[in-house]
Symmetry: D2
């Protein structure tokens, strides 16, 4: 398939590489130049602007936030103006439910197709084609996209024919991870104040009831206070919790634990934590407890 890919960050790069590997005819665009070199060597074409990545049957966007997506979608040379009728925009960015809804309407009005297909997993999973894809959109659009989604992930889940539902599921998953971080942060503060060994404590947890990677990965980072380099920056984590709460506002669903996370992220950012891994919110309970 002839496909465009916009956004070659930590996640996007690996996703694009796996599309190439699967044999697709790929044109890539990144605002900051240079990130595409390796992909060009592997056969990708370079787009000098977003519009040039919109000449195939589908275009992916994998960008940091709503603003970045809006900047490539709207405007004279944006995706909306450039994508052929009937072609497909696959939005994998973690964006707001509200923007996903607006893109659904705008692409429909332009005679284009739109699906939301955010992904679960960290950069190394993206590189290995082992992401989990959560997709939603009109069945025929999903059908068209499926070969592509299977190239970037180990599994694609279709959750709804309303695109924004996939964004909500993705955001809620990040809320759940952040909840794990907070709960581990509080538990570690508690046992550390009683002089229990933090690493043995985590070994007990993760070899018994909490044997999921999310507990192992974040438990170790928090216990070691090893928040740099960031796998997922606190600033993005804060954005996601903000988007969860915005969706919850709209749906009138009170989420006190998400509210707690909101305040934790703001505390972190207010102390220059923007570039730390988002799991640094798991260090705040210890700080409040007078440790470190």
């Amino acid at each position: 398939m002839k496909v465009g890919f916009i956004g070659l960050g930590h996640m996007g790069f690996g996703m694009a590489e796996n599309l190439l590997r699967a044999g697709h005819d790929l044109t890539v665009y990144n605002r900051t130049p240079g990130k595409d070199e390796v992909l060009l060597q592997k056969g990708a074409h370079r787009a000098h602007q977003a519009a040039e990545a919109c000449r195939g049957e589908a275009v992916f966007t994998m960008l940091a936030d709503d603003r970045a997506v809006e900047s490539v979608v709207y405007g004279d040379r944006g995706i909306l103006a450039s994508l052929p009728k009937g072609a497909l925009h696959i939005s994998s960015s973690t964006i707001s439910v509200a923007l996903s809804d607006r893109l659904t309407a705008d692409h429909a009005a332009a005679g284009q197709q739109y699906i939301a297909a955010p992904v679960l997993g960290r950069p190394e999973m993206a590189a290995a084609g082992q992401l989990f894809v959560v997709a939603a959109g009109a069945p025929d659009a999903i059908n068209t996209a499926m070969r592509l989604l299977q190239a970037i992930g180990q599994k694609a889940f279709v959750v709804s024919d309303t695109p924004k539902s996939a964004n909500l599921v993705k955001l809620s998953a990040n809320f759940l991870i952040a909840s794990v971080i907070e709960s581990l942060g509080e538990a570690l503060a508690l046992v550390a104040k009683a002089e229990v060994d933090k690493h043995q404590y985590l070994d007990i947890l993760t070899s018994t009831l909490f044997n999921a990677p999310v507990y192992k990965t974040y438990g170790a980072i928090i216990a070691d206070g090893r928040f740099e380099p960031a796998g997922f920056a606190a600033l993005l984590g804060q954005k996601d919790i903000r988007l969860v709460l915005a969706a919850a506002d709209e749906l009138r669903a009170p989420m006190p634990l998400a509210s707690l996370l909101r305040d934790r992220f703001l505390t972190l950012l207010a102390h220059r934590g923007d570039r730390l891994d988002w799991s640094a919110v798991g260090s705040l309970a210890s700080k409040d407890a007078g440790l470190n």
Copy 2:
């Protein structure tokens, strides 16, 4: 070994059975009679009062709360008065850090040994001898106990030579489980209001990032609203969160997520939820959101 066992509830029964199975000479006591029949048939001796279970090298207690433990430990015919010098009290109940500390001192003063050995796992794991034991106490007392602990669990972790540390670890683990329940409750309320299918949603979570039994077990119970019969009653869950907060108070460790759980449990109990499974706190976010 000649061992006593006090408390044949959902958990204690299975633990006692596994001690028998491992060949120990077991005397059992339960306040409510009748629960020991099956064990007597398998070779256990019946104690007519707690004191009669205190004639061997060690006695286990596996009771509901501080008060129940105090009632068998103190008094003329209590464990303290009955256990031979040098013999061992293995306390597996989920009790307060403060009581564990007091028992440590009182047994030492009486020339007896004391270890805390609370367990992680639900009744079916107790029946199968597959519990995880978190033990703490003086090294020689732990040594004596180890054969017994291995009979009741698949693994025994020794976390400290201060008994109360094991109680703290156990309580913190229950806090972490309750945190999972709350986070799932909020996430399910959010996606359900957007008409995402709750069971598919849980399938996605538990087949990807959250593939730990605790997410599967409690996710299903919450999504189905199937809180009876209780595997672990809300009243006990509330007690454990109360004990976590009491320990946190003493240690001066603020735990806002534990505070949130405290209020959730009180809300549940205020609406006659005492006998529901503790995961019914995971239904409160949906209730607040106007669902069901």
Copy 3:
């Protein structure tokens, strides 16, 4: 002075009336017709659209939310397009800090003046000219406005030369009132469960340490459960807490009590509380406690 007034709701009507009473030459506009009759009889002129209220030295806006203000400010016949160069827009609506900032820039670009002048007080205070005005803006614009502000309020406070600061102060005051409501709600739930008489309890509080009108007014409403008719609708209260949190987000100021209020308002709205008085959030603690 020749002045326009846009927005004749519960608050705006009284403010406009007091401008008339002070002798100003007033032209009034309200989207829903009919509300201006009484004012016309007292000498006001009727504007048939917002633009017609923009022909004097200043125009007030007193509208429900950001959206309503944007709808009269922007567009071909909006305030920005209609107000003479050098004339003044006095924005008394409770709007977001972000919109106030944008209006500051847009009016400056159009050669107009802009001040934020939100008010503290309920409709009966507006009718009596007894509001408190919190104003911010360039000193000369404030000077021009002062005679008008003194007509609508018993006192005008100038807090900054940056207009949005006045909006922040106003929003924070509503946060403080909502905090009183929540704290009274929890205290009343507590003592009511112990069968203390709620009215006597409030008498004690408000005749001793808490002798401010805000405690008297809201305490009585909550104790009586008398949330209709609404003096200030829950939907507006929720909007204000949302705007406080949006400002706090931008400023990176964690506000856990505001977060709690956010969830309380969502719970209320999720149970069809939109039209109740916002103090109905003070009934939720009793509901959670199993009362009523």
Copy 4:
């Protein structure tokens, strides 16, 4: 009346002095000697132990916490053992609802009378005889006490014939004050980050909607960061919030704002804030926001 008074701290001293001033025959006792000198000069008698203060018709206790009250009530030479049958124990300390209940039963069993009569107000009000007394107990006991209560306070409110209700009302009032402190702390952090002048801000609040002394007093202390010397120590504030939550636990009344305060106080104490004024919890929002 012949009266004893036990506990000559900041509050107790003033209360005792006013009893003397009203002409009562007063015997005073304080654990730490020396505090009674001034009172002796004004005609009080010195008790060398608590029992000696129990020879009249009534004895007051005004002590720091449950433990202190228990230490003078129980034991061979405690109040219970020493007070004549029919005589009255007036407990003005801020103690737990549970202890008040136990004292009610124990005094009844000993043929003595017991009322709870905690007070609202700070030391300067105690010195001036201007406290507010919240009393509860059997009507005849209250009758006996009334002359004494009127000597120490400007007004005595009788809230119930169950003594513990007065303790609950007192605790709830402290919860309300702490809520004011937290809300002011958050509001001040918010406006300070936007560079609004904190003192002008407080002037606006306290000259308009929040014109109660509690806002003036605590607003000024927080804005100035002037937490020493403590009018009411953080350690006592934390105790009171703990007692509120213990009562709420028993009554099954969830109080999320009280839970927030609990965590705030623990954070303060974990950073060596024990001796600061309890309003120092109002500085934590600013700290979280990265200010100071």
